[in-house]
Subunit: 223 residues, 2 copies
DNA sequence: ATTCGACTAGGGGATGCCCCCTAGTCGCCA
DNA sequence: TGGCGACTAGGGGGCATCCCCTAGTCGAAT
């Protein structure tokens, strides 16, 4: 796997990268994507979080690219341990989920970047380049989520549902009609509609169906 | 995208392959894995099931490699439609799940093979070669599961929802309106309503909200 | 050859959903 | 003490949902 170029390479040392994902095909894809870059060398593959941590501490790569969801240790847990015991190893988190659920935890754990797998692969290379320069990297979606969180009550803050709104959302998700909810909570149908409507606007959702999935994700109800 | 080789190619025609997965990084990995083979050409990428179906029917690749879990149509639903409308297109199912949950459905839907993403990438190439020869391909794990099932009697009880009803239920649960579903499936709004209504009657449910929870319980969609 | 189920499409109508708006009370707090 | 947010309630309108019904084609099974 040496560089085939006989002429002088423009960079002194290739960047050493460790990749960790429990899916072989994903690892292969990452490896090939990265090794098309002349100045990147994949020095190891791990298929679970514990292996990733051990390899990162032993091999001291410049960068470890970790999937969030792995056996034994999640990517976030592995990140914490790697950053604690080998602070010179940067970490990039790959998320299979199409949301920013783990963004804040990843940053708190010491990750330098957060990339969604649904994103184009150009984003991953950009992220690697940013880490190489010692900069953090977030996808535009992640940046937006972060800004909204810092600004707090910007427009659609997570979890500013009032207690009443949460009650209504839960009942909606349990397949009650507005009328039934009004009866259960001893309210008028109109008030229920207002709570539901306000909750939906805060969460950026358009109908009860999206609300159901939200409630299940949040553990408000069982599927 | 023509072959740049001026000299006589060793094989007459490269095998045309379509890949479909909702994660860009997985698509890139598959593409690079396949295109390292001289006689394989990736003729398209789709990021959801409906797009995969449309591209497969339009482009007529030799093989469509479909992820099980995709928006709009699952890989299994797309398989059924592709095999019905373009029987010369072979289908290979990729499963992210580390079990054989969808193996039997995949075979019933007309898939030629079933490969787990956790498997080594050599398995995928083997599967592609098998399809090229017109043979089915199952990973050893899948074969074992199939044998056990044949011996031990079907635990893979299908719901009594028809395939069409299942498609509609999935799309309803993904928060699509009747009109959107009609557009995705190339049907009239009335037909969609009929399928949804029939499905709800069979399952004893009264509205879309209950349908969402059903779909999540059954693993048709993620919350 | 007929029956059956799946799929398709539509009419018509009752109800529910969802949005826009106003408007009152209450308690908290700057 | 005036504002602010939560909670309450309603009017009105536009559209979606959901139900009942008929009715055609198609392929598979009897």
């Amino acid at each position: 796997m040496e560089a085939q170029r006989a002429y002088a390479p423009p960079v002194a040392e290739p960047m050493k990268v460790l990749i960790a994902d429990d899916h072989g095909i994903v690892r292969s894809g990452l490896r090939m994507l990265l090794e098309r870059q002349m100045d990147i060398e994949v020095v190891g593959e791990a298929s679970d979080g514990a292996e990733a941590r051990d390899m990162a501490i032993r091999e001291r790569p410049d960068l470890a690219i970790l999937d969030v969801k792995m056996p034994k240790l999640t990517g976030l847990q592995a990140t914490r341990e790697i950053r604690a015991q080998a602070p010179d190893v940067a970490v990039l988190i790959l998320s299979m989920y199409d949301d920013e659920r783990y963004l804040f935890e990843a940053l708190k754990a010491g990750a330098s970047g957060y990339v969604l797998k649904a994103q184009a692969d150009s984003d991953l290379l950009e992220a690697v380049r940013a880490v190489e320069r010692g900069e953090p990297f977030l996808t535009p979606e992640a940046q937006r989520a972060l800004i909204q969180d810092v600004l707090g009550e910007g427009s659609s803050r997570e979890e500013d549902l009032t207690p009443r709104e949460q009650e209504v959302v839960k009942l909606v998700a349990e397949a009650h009609t507005n009328r039934e909810i009004a009866s259960i909570l001893h309210l008028s149908e109109k008030t229920v509609e207002n709570h539901r409507s306000n909750a939906m606007r805060k969460l950026g959702m358009r109908d009860r169906v999206e609300l159901v999935r939200y409630a299940i994700r949040k553990g408000l109800i069982e599927p």
